[in-house]
């Protein structure tokens, strides 16, 4: 590994760290703006109980000390207790519990999006300016024009209520089909377009013509020359794709009744469970920032032609 690359990686890691600290800071002070403490509820709490509770949660200290405390804990994934559970369950354990469902669905969706997206994109590029190309492009344009909550609802209604092919909720493999499909739709369309344009670029280059000229077969050109080069832009999309899937999961999990992170996030907003909202915001930021970092570094490693700043 050369020095320049090491310096670049160091710089990006520091920037990612800074981003996370900024998000923790913004989250903390933004939630402070909301009037009413976490123990304000319909039931009146006696002043003594309130004082005891505030002491227990460290809310009686000055705001800056509270902030430093929170920052320190949030950096090691300790987000305190969920209010809704009356201090019995930590936000961290909620995340660990819910993450298994979200991670399963998210990973399958990402996998589908990459495989089908790359395949469709390459196909469209190889069949450039034919009907196949146009159909693929129209489909990928149209599928990003509909909000995912509408697509999910309509699919759920058609497949589970009208045709009754799939179970409305259930945790065998058939329950995963609709959520993962809906979740993968937007990234799939994006990857299709990305792959198509980069493949078109690659196919027009001199080394592909040389490869054909020296008598390489189509499949050899595809695997050895074209695919490797046309896939590098897709790597940069890995970070934003995780962000999309995280956002999409808020909708998809709520509609399909999957007990994942997304549904928990929406529920915590509705319940005004601020420690949980804060914890989940910061956790999802970790996820996205780390994915963006990894995909950026990977891009530079895979593609040595890219100039390092």
């Amino acid at each position: 590994m050369n020095k320049k690359l090491a310096f670049y990686i160091l710089k990006r890691v520091l920037l990612a760290f800074l981003t996370i600290i900024i998000v923790i800071t913004v989250t903390f002070f933004a939630v402070q703006l909301i009037p009413g403490g976490p123990f304000t509820s319909e039931k009146a709490v006696s002043p003594e109980t309130l004082a005891r509770l505030e002491k227990m949660y460290g809310l009686d200290k000055p705001i800056f000390i509270q902030y430093i405390n929170y920052l320190g804990h949030a950096l090691i994934f300790d987000f305190g207790y969920s209010i809704k559970s009356r201090g019995a369950v930590t936000v961290g354990s909620i995340i660990a519990d819910r993450m298994q469902y979200s991670a399963a669905i998210g990973l399958i969706a990402a996998f589908i999006a990459i495989i089908i997206g790359v395949a469709l994109g390459s196909l469209a590029a190889y069949k450039h300016n034919t009907t196949t190309d146009r159909v693929i492009m129209v489909l990928s344009t149209a599928s990003v024009a509909m909000p995912s909550f509408i697509i999910s609802t309509i699919l759920l209604y058609l497949f589970c209520n009208v045709w009754q092919i799939l179970p409305a909720n259930g945790f065998d493999w058939r329950g995963y089909i609709l959520p993962t499909f809906t979740l993968s739709l937007y990234p799939m369309a994006y990857i299709t377009r990305l792959t198509r344009s980069s493949t078109l670029d690659v196919l027009g280059s001199d080394y592909i013509r040389t490869a054909y000229a020296k008598g390489s077969s189509f499949s050899r050109v595809l695997y050895k020359h074209s695919l490797r080069n046309s896939l590098t832009p897709v790597i940069t999309y890995a970070g934003p794709m995780i962000a999309f899937i995280v956002t999409g999961s808020l909708v998809v999990e709520k509609i399909y009744g999957i007990p994942g992170i997304g549904r928990e996030f929406v529920a915590s907003i509705t319940n005004r469970d601020y420690p949980e909202v804060m914890g989940l915001t910061i956790f999802l930021t970790y996820l996205v920032v780390i994915m963006v970092l990894v995909s950026d570094i990977l891009y530079k490693v895979v593609n040595p032609r890219v100039e390092l700043e």
Binding site: L15, A243, L280
Partner: protein, 354 residues
């Protein structure tokens, strides 16, 4: 005093009138082979008009814009009027949940008496409000959100990007690091957080902003805080690259002042890129708004937006699917048309990019 002139000289004698005669207008016209000069803008318009899909999309957007401002003027119902509730009379429940183009018992009785009743084109919702005018208003709110958000992004991003490009050096570096940080944030999660906070922390009652609703204001604030970074990067890159072109160098070398170079070269050349990118921002804002409406952070009732209409109709899908499908189709068409028109504009203004 007449200069001495050697009669054998081959030099042209300028004093003799017969050598140079003033050309007549007809002769001048014969020498003109030039077409009217094509401007950059004219070229772009010509290229755009050749792109049929983009023209149709733009036409559709204009049509929708006209509809959402003209229809409410003459339409007899308003978006928040519950038709069954008339002050001083018992609530008439028959107005609720009418199918498209049907009338309730009360209206049938009035029609039998010879009165003209405007049809409920899309029926009514469960509170007895005319659904057509709600969809029209919803499109209006959604599009206003989109246009206003794009406008905010345009202003903040352009100013930030050009300051960064012109300052250069340390200032530029720090400003761009800030952009990098904001760029890698999961935007939707931050939008949700800020919407939750703003919805609960601020109260706009009694101010002119009251009608807009807290949620909409929080969407705008979030756009002003987060979404301009793409635009800022774009503007900075554009300004930097134009600053280094030969024509700016040429202009500078003949002594043009910096404000003049800005006005004549840099701003016009950036403008198209900025406008195109702002156009593509509109559908993204419409999406964001509909997403926030779905998780209950969008516009506040009774004001409709396409997203809130669709998400309110989810429960009624088995019995009245059209309540969901109509706003869904509207969102889809508007977003598609804006995207295609934006793509067309980009291709028209930047032929190199193709």
């Amino acid at each position: 005093m007449k200069k001495f002139r050697n009669p054998f000289s081959f030099q042209v004698d300028y004093d003799r009138e017969s050598i140079f005669k003033v050309a007549t207008d007809k002769e001048k016209e014969e020498q003109t082979f030039m077409r009217p000069s094509t401007s950059f803008f004219g070229d772009a318009v010509r290229r755009f008009r050749r792109n049929k899909i983009a023209v149709i999309s733009l036409f559709f957007v204009i049509l929708v814009l006209l509809a959402i401002f003209i229809v409410p003027i003459f339409y007899p119902y308003s978006y928040d009027q519950q038709l069954g509730i008339i002050p001083g009379k018992p609530v008439d429940g028959s107005f609720a949940n009418l199918a498209p183009f049907t009338y309730c018992e009360t209206e049938k009785a009035r029609m039998a008496a010879g009165e003209f009743i405007w049809p409920h084109i899309f029926g009514t919702d469960n509170a007895g409000r005319d659904y057509f005018i709600r969809v029209i208003y919803g499109a209006r709110v959604s599009l206003l959100v989109g246009f206003f958000a794009a406008f905010i992004v345009l202003i903040v991003g352009t100013i930030y990007g050009s300051i960064s490009a012109f300052s250069g050096g340390k200032v530029d570096m720090i400003m761009m690091r800030i952009v990098d940080v904001i760029y890698s944030l999961p935007d939707m999660v931050i939008i949700i957080l800020l919407s939750v906070v703003l919805n609960n922390a601020f109260d706009f009652e009694g101010t002119p902003l009251e009608n807009v609703g807290t949620s909409l204001i929080s969407i705008f604030i979030v756009y002003a805080l987060l979404y301009w970074v793409g635009m800022a990067r774009l503007v900075r890159g554009q300004v930097l690259s134009i600053k280094q072109t030969e024509y700016v160098l040429a202009s500078r070398s003949i002594g043009t002042s910096t404000p003049m170079i800005l006005r004549k070269h840099i701003i016009p050349n950036c403008l198209s890129v900025i406008i195109v990118s702002a156009t593509l921002q509109i559908p993204s804002a419409i999406f964001t708004e509909s997403f926030l409406s779905f998780i209950g952070l969008g516009v506040s009732a009774p004001m409709p937006s396409l997203g809130s209409l669709a998400s309110d109709a989810i429960g009624a899908l088995p019995t009245q699917p059209y309540l969901l499908l109509i706003p869904a189709v509207f969102i889809c068409l508007i977003v598609l048309a804006l995207n295609l028109a934006g793509d067309g504009l980009r291709d028209a203004f930047d032929p190199k990019q193709k």
